[in-house]
């Protein structure tokens, strides 16, 4: 109850609906990620929580109290902008002390508090310097420090790692996660990088064009995607989709693809009874790491192009006219146009209806068996 709640929040900028009836509850102390492509409305959502944007409809609650019209400075919520927005004219010390000065905290307490934050973020040596003289990683820590210094009830981070280079991003990810666990504060973390969301968040909200697609733990977002969009947002290279037709024989549902058939287990078919009619189009979703090249007879395909990445190799396969990506062991040497046999991991399949709405995901349970036709 003590966390942050958005209730049916809608925000329009002229003709563009940046947020469309968003309702979500963020628990207190949770590391909550908001994932989506650029332009999905993630930043607008953050700005609405902190009060820099006022929703056209709906309300924002913090610890159960309605704060929709409360002035940003009085919400006890801090935000770290994507461009960090450090005060270029002030030293690092004054950047950190600024919020405390506005809250009229006694000078002696400010010094002690800033020292504390500087120690936690390992930026003590930088206190005298101006932001322009800092490296990307240091500037990013100072911005985090300024957001933390007032010990707010929640920290909103807008793609904080996007400006850093790959190596630093790796380190900062680990440090941010460790820091959040120690502070025990709610963190709302906006990113378009699915690796960051998957590796750091307790829960992820996937957003597309202002509409909430799914809110769940990383595992479920990955293994039980609510729809086709969520399935493609997480996991790289993205999930493959193969067109098939639903066919009921007795109690069990079969998904017929020209080159293979997926038979659903008895109990699972029951749950799809009303949602997939006989002959109705559907999509079989399978992640590249669940497409295996086997020596045993399987689904026929030809190799289109291989991309060796060192740790693994991405293979583009022509499966009945459609391109399918598979993730294979780097030691497997494949020539172009080579005919291969494929096996789809039945415990990892997903079924979507024609519009892309998720119907059923195996998620490790033996719900499907795949047989070449």
């Amino acid at each position: 109850m003590a966390g942050i709640r958005l209730d049916n929040v809608t925000k329009r900028f002229g003709s563009v609906t940046a947020l469309d009836r968003i309702s979500v509850e963020i628990e207190d102390g949770e590391f909550f990620a908001v994932l989506g492509h650029p332009g999905a409305g993630k930043t607008t959502m953050l700005r609405t929580i902190v009060g820099l944007e006022t929703p056209d409809e709906g309300d924002v609650y913090a610890a159960g109290e309605r704060i929709t019209d409360v002035y940003p400075g009085d919400r006890d919520i801090a935000i770290m902008f994507q461009n960090l927005a450090l005060y270029p004219d002030k030293s690092v010390y004054n950047n950190l002390a600024f919020p405390l000065k506005q809250a009229k905290v006694p000078k002696q307490q400010i010094e002690q508090r800033v020292a504390e934050v500087a120690r936690v973020l390992r930026i003590e040596p930088l206190l005298k310097r101006k932001p322009a003289k800092l490296s990307g990683g240091e500037r990013q820590r100072v911005a985090l420090g300024r957001a933390m210094v007032r010990d707010p009830r929640a920290l909103l981070l807008d793609e904080p790692l996007s400006a850093l280079d790959a190596l630093l991003r790796l380190e900062m990810r680990a440090e941010l996660k460790r820091l959040q666990r120690e502070l025990g504060r709610t963190v709302v973390y906006v990113t378009h990088d699915q690796v960051e969301a998957m590796s750091m968040a307790d829960r992820i909200a996937v957003l597309r064009e202002g509409v909430l697609q799914q809110v769940d733990q990383p595992e479920n977002i990955y293994h039980r995607p609510a729809n086709r969009f969520v399935a493609t947002v997480v996991g790289s290279p993205p999930m493959n989709f193969l067109h098939a037709e639903g066919a009921w024989s007795g109690g069990t549902l079969e998904l017929r693809h020209p080159l293979f058939t997926v038979t659903t287990a008895e109990a699972a078919s029951e749950s799809l009874r009303g949602r997939l009619a006989e002959g109705q189009e559907c999509l079989v979703g399978v992640r590249p790491e669940d497409v295996h090249v086997t020596s045993a007879p399987g689904i026929p395909a030809t190799v289109y192009v291989t991309e060796p990445l060192g740790g693994e190799t991405v293979v583009d396969l022509d499966l009945g006219g459609r391109l399918v990506k598979a993730l294979v062991d780097p030691t497997l040497k494949l020539q172009e146009n080579e005919a291969v046999q494929l096996a789809l991991d039945g415990q990892r399949l997903h079924v979507f209806d024609a519009e892309g709405v998720g119907l059923l995901s195996a998620a490790g349970e033996p719900l499907f068996t795949v047989s070449a036709s």
Binding site: R75, D151, R185, L323
Partner: protein, 348 residues
Amino acid sequence: MAEGPLSTPSEAAGRQAPRRSLLARWGRSEGAVAQTLITPGQLLLLFVILFPAIVAIYISFTGWTPQSGDPWYEAYRSWLWFDNYWEALSGNAFWAAVWRTIVVTVVAVTAEFLIGFGLALLLLKQFRGRGLLVVVFLLPMMVVPAVAGFIFYMLFQGDGPVNAALTWLLPGEVNIGWLTDPDIALFSVIIVDIWQWTPLMFLILLSGLVALPEDQMNAARILGAGWRHQFVHLVLPMMKPIILIALIIRAMETLKLFDAAWLMTQGGPGDATATMSVYLYRETFIGTRWGYSSAVAILVLIMVSMLAMRAIRPIEAAAEERVDDLVVAEERAEVSLEEAIEAEARAR
């Protein structure tokens, strides 16, 4: 790392928003602060445009003069309706002044543009003395216009340095009546304007050329485009907005030409160099027929504001160049994944 959380989570979660005094709430409301910020500016606008316009319109319908004894607010005693306007519009003195102003503006601004652009192109490539040269070029722009008028008054004397230099250069005695010959005097005024403001045109166009995207130029060179081709297809089209701004701003200022013309020739010989501003000044302070002068002033204000409507658009567009609000950035169209897969199927 830190031993424990900085303060217990529940304690932080419980804090409520503080109550604020009226003044503090006023200081936080965007609407109230925005209006307060622009009020002084709007008052200044009223003081310099609205009140003078009202008073001028009122006086322009009367035959009032400062010597007529009664105060200005009783100017209605000599109410003339539109007589002053008819007199101005039918008289040729007014139109002659308008014509002279147009001639000065067109000739001066065109010459400034051609010389300025030529020099900017010439000096585009970085070379040793360029910085110094740009500084030297700055000086004429900095000269107080009245002083510029005085300088050229000295230069254009019959036995002055200009005639002396020309005699030295050209065969035979040169004795041009720069300030005395009615056919040439206006041209002398134009020369002063060209001398003073070509540097501005040069600097604006130079900064435009310098800002041209280097990599598009390189791309054109790699595709085999020669210098002429680059100029016609890349430089000119991309410089169009800046050229427009430079011309408009210079035209705007030249229309108001008074200082140099007055110091040098007081609009003389006769009214050979009486631009609009000089003509109005003479009618007001020598003719003292304030009713008539107000009518002329209103006509000028109308003409200029019509021009201004058209002229402001490019300047506003350039000044607004920076797209900062959030939404436009998010609206940028972006190929969704499905389209990419479709394109791939189509390509094969």
